[in-house]
């Protein structure tokens, strides 16, 4: 019978995590790619983030558990000009009803994660659905709740409260990730990949217009009218359970200039 977990983890957001049946090595690798969809300067967009974890020199190796994820986002990508997250979802509402327990107008994005569960001689793979929800603010920082839900072979529902932090020359998404045992007392699960879209793509919001409920797509994160000289650069620092850290970066190049 599947084990079911429902908990709020006392941490900061975004990523959830991983670990494997093998001891942590200093050769864990992270590949990150970021894209905009659609990609038109001066318009709103959906931010698509893809992370792939691995072990250097071992294509089938399982990466060590991640303990922290810190992603720097270009300061020119601003939530203020968007209509994402018009409602606020609380961890209690998520725990009680899952993502349907929150207003659809609190959704910031969605995605999926592939994890390996060390449940036997060879790891068992599992996919989890991810929902990013606007959470209660913490001071002047934007609170973000990452809700993950897996069903088989291990049913698990986890919430990672997190923060969209501002400071210095940009903004960042910072998450401390606790170990997630695949079974009581057992080794932790490993994240092997994650896709997350933050923006209006696949999101539907609702509003009342003259007593009628109307569906609409929210406005996404705004791209500036001018592209930075080296494109939009994203840098993630990912810390692993063995104390090592890997920095991964990805730049979205400037779009080709249009000919008139």
């Amino acid at each position: 019978m599947p084990r079911k977990v429902a908990t709020v983890l006392p941490v900061v957001m975004m990523l959830w995590c991983l670990s494997g049946p093998t001891p942590a090595r200093a050769s864990d690798t992270v590949n990150m790619s970021v894209a905009f969809s659609p990609y038109r300067l001066g318009r709103s967009t959906t931010l698509k983030i893809r992370l792939k974890f691995g072990v250097k020199g071992a294509p089938t190796g399982i990466p060590a558990p991640v303990t922290r994820f810190d992603m720097q986002i270009p300061a020119t990508l601003e939530l203020i000009g968007s209509s994402l997250g018009l409602a606020v979802c609380t961890p209690a509402a998520l725990l009680a009803g899952g993502w349907p327990g929150c207003s659809p107008n609190a959704r910031l994005g969605l995605g999926s994660a592939d994890i390996d569960l060390p449940l036997g001689p060879s790891p068992v793979s599992e996919s989890a659905r991810i929902e990013a929800e606007m959470g209660p603010p913490v001071g002047e920082d934007v609170g973000v709740l990452l809700y993950t839900e897996a069903t088989t072979p291990v049913a698990a529902q986890l919430i990672f409260p997190g923060l969209l932090l501002e400071g210095g020359g940009g903004q960042g998404l910072d998450a401390f990730v606790p170990p997630i045992p695949a079974a009581p007392g057992g080794p932790d699960v490993s994240l092997v990949s994650m896709n997350l879209s933050l923006g209006p793509e696949h999101l539907t919001y609702y509003e009342k217009v003259g007593g009628t409920t109307v569906r609409y797509h929210p406005r996404g994160i705004s791209l500036p009218a001018k592209c930075p000289s080296n494109g939009f650069r994203f840098v993630s620092k990912i810390a692993f359970q063995d104390g090592t850290a890997v920095t991964a970066s990805s730049a979205v190049p400037c779009p080709p200039r249009r000919r008139h």
């Binding site: 001066g42 000009g81 209509s83 606020v88 603010p137 500036p224």
Partner: protein, 125 residues
């Protein structure tokens, strides 16, 4: 004519002109120590920085203009912003208006992008 100091304490209700994004052009009315219509252009307002320029047209003639440095933060459907405002000039009876370090604060509704602002301080005219 001798320069004098007057209170500049106005509340504005504005609506978005055009599309939202890194620039918000807002237009509306203001009331308080003066009244009339107002236009504010917000540029690249983030948690750490941002700018706004404004022109307030008095219902008694003339206008006051200036700029503000501001920053904002998001709480659900609302952006809260605050900063410092500088009055740099005007027209008509406000042609020589000046003032520094006036308070500038307000909110933007992230659904409609309508804005409410408060400008408070003293200016020399």
């Amino acid at each position: 004519m001798t320069a004098r100091t007057v209170t500049f304490n106005i509340e504005s209700n504005l609506h978005l002109i055009g599309r939202p994004g890194h620039v918000f052009n807002e237009r509306g009315t203001f009331s308080g120590s003066q009244s009339g219509t107002i236009e504010i252009r917000f540029t690249s307002v983030t948690h750490t920085s941002g700018e706004a320029t404004f022109a307030a047209y008095s219902s008694h003639g003339g206008s006051v203009s200036g700029h503000a440095s501001t920053k904002g933060h998001v709480v659900g459907a609302t952006v809260y912003f605050n900063g410092n405002l500088t009055v740099t000039g005007g027209t008509g009876q406000w042609a020589h208006a000046s003032g520094r370090n006036l308070r500038f604060s307000g909110t933007v509704d992230r659904h409609t992008f309508n804005a409410k602002t408060h400008m408070q301080g003293s200016i020399t005219v």
